[in-house]
Symmetry: C2
Amino acid sequence: MLELAILGLLHESPMHGYELRKRLLSLLGAIRAAFSYGSLYPTLKRMRQRGLIAEEAPGTPGAEKPLLTGRRARKVYRLTPEGKEHFAQLMSEAGPETADEALFGVHFAFFSRTDPATRLRILEARRRRVEERRERIREALARTAERLDSYGFELQRYGLETAEREVRWLNELIASEQGRNPGQNDFGDRLADPGRPTRSATEDEDSSEPDKGGMRDG
Amino acid sequence: MLELAILGLLHESPMHGYELRKRLLSLLGAIRAAFSYGSLYPTLKRMRQRGLIAEEAPGTPGAEKPLLTGRRARKVYRLTPEGKEHFAQLMSEAGPETADEALFGVHFAFFSRTDPATRLRILEARRRRVEERRERIREALARTAERLDSYGFELQRYGLETAEREVRWLNELIASEQGRNPGQNDFGDRLADPGRPTRSATEDEDSSEPDKGGMRDG
DNA sequence: CCGCAGATGTATCGGTCCGATACATCGAAT
DNA sequence: ATTCGATGTATCGGACCGATACATCTGCGG
């Protein structure tokens, strides 16, 4: 999960842990809690040992005090070919695991790097999951409504409404996906460009992204 | 967290693990994933060792094959006085920890066992937390909107809307709490409406009526 | 000039929780 | 008969989190 997110982010450019965490926060913070350093650093270590990422070598190994603007030692990680392949493989999975709230969110955040068929299957798997949850709440409500105090009732009601809202959202997304030309990917052009010399994303101002509003039809 | 939920449920009646899990699912399943047995049984063991719960003694220690309807050995747990006290102490805490999504949900589910002042503080702590989250999303959106592809944008938009919706919900709950007589608790026991059993918004919405005078008051 | 708060940066530790798995009994359907 | 699903207890490895530690750089007020 965290692994997938790291691989996805390192697709943009090499980064060190602290920066990864900030990007993670701004990318996923809207839907889930940010990963903590207590998971991030051990995961980076593990991924490095597995060869999915590699430490960027500093210029001169002797007396490597000044990194960038005179900062202290930082470990900058970059994606290896194995990591790239592993990411593609993880992203192409569309089983029931991808319906989990957290994993779905990460997948969705990198949807532009997935083919349309996989996107659709993931969205439908998630919808199935939320629909089941919705039905379970309805049953529980019907079964135990008279036993609930007003707070318990309010919790059920709000949870049911939340599930219904997410199903509507997924329906719109699925409709939007199906509205596209099923053979084409009108988002893929920006990611199918392997030769882009990605600068560091710290103060980057590259706004060559005219496409928008594919699903903002309603 | 799980501990708090177990203590709360055992307030109703003694239960064994399997039953606890089912009750947990129907009580909290509307807002969070159910606890798994992988957490439940170790937690029960730990709580028993700490004296918060105790195993219900079977009728006759000799030849105790038939429990209830001839089933196999089950461990029925009941609340000890220490457990009752610990529950009250946990429920009276209203610090920032209680603003966490999961812990807030459990607290809320047992709100009828908390005094109104604590309820109010917990609701306000949660609202503060969600407002901060909402502001972080807004900033991230303003800062990185032009860098986002349509999926990233949609994720931010949906997350922002989710946060705004929860703040509205909390505002209603807080207003409802403040509308009560601050010294009394008119929800103490049961107050289920015997009339219509909770029709939820299946297909209708957009009523946009701001009346909604709090939670089902009589 | 000093100090000190706050951002940057890496890392570990203990603990909670989850998913998978194992094992066993029972009632009902096939 | 036997397979299937619900009931029931339990453990294990792994993922993640919160707290903590430690160190450097920057800017701010005194």
